[in-house]
């Protein structure tokens, strides 16, 4: 591990621009760290040759003086983003041998902005999970440990956050359906931003739940999140749900001035069983904001407690349909057939072998809630409650400019600690409401738990107002001065 691995995007960018560092050196440091980090099981596919090629191209560009915002910056790509000619698994055995002949829009935007692909990182299978334990390629280990005991990195963007927290890359792409960027960011002391639904294109991103999935950056600083979001976002005619509004200069939003801003504290996020240290961190966060001249306002989001069950109808329903294409016909795994097996056997065996337990469970739930006679009671009901949840936020944002909550109800936990699916689902209790409403949110590291693990605070904002979210996050980041980092025990 060299000092270069500690550089933020902004720092590396400035040094690259000053020609006091070459992209090749920077990328080589990342490749070395990637090699050393094998015990963390972060990468599903490493692409060092490609990284070096891209680094050389970046150096040429830097030399020519036409550098883009992320020229030469190494990126770990969640294995959910299709990358041309590079295997893309979505953490599933189903796509073990899948090589897309196309590039996702988000990664294409990053490469257009000069970024360098380090490799594809591990994740919960099809992004279904909050601990990375559902990956067909084995769980990612959190660089942060409880003494000698491994902890989960959170999920589903577990590989992404581990790569960033472990100083392998300064940034990684993530995707967030119900908290899959923010919760793992909180578990690893990184910054994770879920933009407004429609801000980043979903084209070429393996779909989990189409109405919720949104790509976003995972970094070590708020400034880096701003830089990277700018490089990922933008209108895309290939995604009908991607919005045609200009991408602002997010970095410019980091003015440090939040005087007069109103920050809402939703009373429903308090609960009797919230751990003391989470509650304390939250209070501390409010104090930081007050000190910076913001006004703390109590608000109510009355349908909060229904968000999680609503999510666990909507997301599996969409997933059951989105994952129907994995049938062994055109790509991906196909089961070995016995003589006499027909199409139905091919489907049933292929999908039984290709999908893991959690994915199967969610497909079955989703199939059930959409099936004849149950649609109204489950799916339709859930979509109505979703309207109520979005209305709660709409009402709140008439009074406040942003909302502050904890990101997750606990710090990272040990492997196997949450055997019961429902207990696992509870991880997303604070992140899911904004997902259902399509709103932006960021998690920043705010404190360490008593056991020395990072804890995160979440800032939510209005639709397409990532600027306010980033501005508030930047102020809190300064106040928190979170400098703790994991020990490099793996190398």
């Amino acid at each position: 591990m060299s000092d270069l691995n500690e550089l933020s995007i902004a720092e590396a960018r400035d040094r690259l621009a000053a020609r006091d560092l070459s992209a090749r050196e920077l990328v080589q440091a990342s490749i070395a760290a990637m090699e050393a980090a094998k015990p963390l099981n972060i990468f599903v596919t490493e692409t060092p040759e490609r990284a070096l090629e891209m680094a050389d191209a970046a150096d040429a560009r830097l030399k020519a003086g036409d550098a883009k915002p992320m020229t030469g910056i190494p990126v770990a790509v969640k294995d959910l983003f299709c990358t041309k000619d590079v295997c893309t698994t979505a953490g599933s055995h189903m796509l073990e041998s899948f090589t897309p002949p196309y590039e996702s829009t988000v990664t294409a935007n990053l490469w257009d902005n000069g970024a360098v692909m380090l490799g594809k990182v591990n994740m919960d299978e099809f992004a279904m999970g909050s601990s990375n334990e559902t990956s067909a390629y084995g769980p990612v280990k959190n660089p942060w440990r409880l003494g000698e005991t491994d902890t989960v990195p959170g999920g589903s963007s577990g590989g992404s956050v581990a790569a960033v927290a472990g100083r392998i890359a300064p940034c990684a792409t993530g995707s967030d359906t119900g908290g899959s960027i923010r919760q793992p960011a909180a578990f690893t002391g990184t910054v994770g931003l879920k933009p407004t639904y429609g801000r980043c294109s979903r084209y070429g991103m393996v779909a989990f739940a189409s109405s919720l999935d949104q790509a976003g950056p995972i970094t070590r600083s708020v400034r880096d999140a701003a830089i990277m979001l700018g490089a990922m976002a933008g209108h895309d005619v290939k995604d009908s749900t991607c919005v045609d509004v200009p991408v602002p200069d997010y970095e410019a939003a980091l003015t440090g001035d939040i005087r007069g801003l109103k920050i809402g504290i939703p009373k429903e996020y308090h609960s009797a069983d919230m751990p003391r240290e989470i509650e304390d961190m939250w209070q501390q966060g409010m104090a930081w904001l007050r000190d910076a001249g913001a006004q703390i306002v109590d608000i109510s989001l009355p349908h909060t407690k229904y968000a999680l069950p609503t999510y666990y109808i909507v997301a599996p329903a969409e997933a059951s349909s989105n994952l129907a294409r994995y049938d062994g016909v055109r790509y991906g795994h196909r089961a070995q057939l016995k003589s006499g097996d027909g199409l139905t056997e091919m489907y049933e065996e292929t999908r039984a072998e290709g999908f893991g337990e959690e994915v199967k469970r969610r497909i079955l739930i989703g199939t059930y809630v959409l099936s004849a006679g149950y649609y109204d009671a489950y799916y339709l009901k859930a979509q109505k409650i979703r309207t109520l949840i979005a209305d709660d936020f709409r009402r709140a944002y008439k009074k406040v400019d942003a909302i502050l909550t904890p990101t997750a109800p606990s710090a990272a936990f040990g492997f196997g600690a949450k055997q019961d699916p429902l207990a696992m689902y509870m991880n997303d209790v604070f992140t899911v409401p904004a997902s259902l409403a399509g709103l932006p949110g960021i998690s920043i590291p705010a404190a360490l738990s008593a056991e020395g693990l990072p804890l995160g605070l979440q800032i939510l904002g209005r639709a397409f107002d990532e600027e306010t979210v980033l501005k508030v996050a930047g102020v809190m980041e300064d106040a928190a001065a979170f400098t703790a980092k994991p020990k490099t025990w793996w190398s």
Binding site: P309, R351, Y368
Partner: protein, 95 residues
């Protein structure tokens, strides 16, 4: 609303996922746990509430009627588990 073994079998069939016989009962239990939990939603009064159709509040973009894609059979077949004469091949279906 409770899911029994037969229901698990039926939805597994709909979803085209073979479930081992000895997994049917446990799976019914797991699904019931989740369904019992989401049951709390029935307490919410949703009379007159419009179901959410889209979280984004904008208009559907329409493409022009132009051929801009296709003509990439190699790409289309590049990941095929089995292909014959430019077709995808699957076990024979009898109509």
């Amino acid at each position: 609303m409770s899911v029994d073994k037969a229901t698990v079998k039926r939805i597994a069939k709909l979803a085209r996922i073979r479930i081992d016989e000895d997994r049917l009962d446990p799976m019914a239990g797991e699904l019931n746990n989740i369904l019992d939990w989401v049951e709390q939603l029935s307490a919410v009064d949703t009379d007159g509430v419009k179901p959410m159709t889209s979280v984004v509040d904008h208009c559907l973009h329409w493409r022009a009627d132009e051929v801009t894609d296709g003509n990439k059979r190699d790409d289309v077949l590049s990941n095929a588990p089995d292909a014959e004469f430019g077709f995808f091949a699957v076990p024979k279906v009898i109509e």
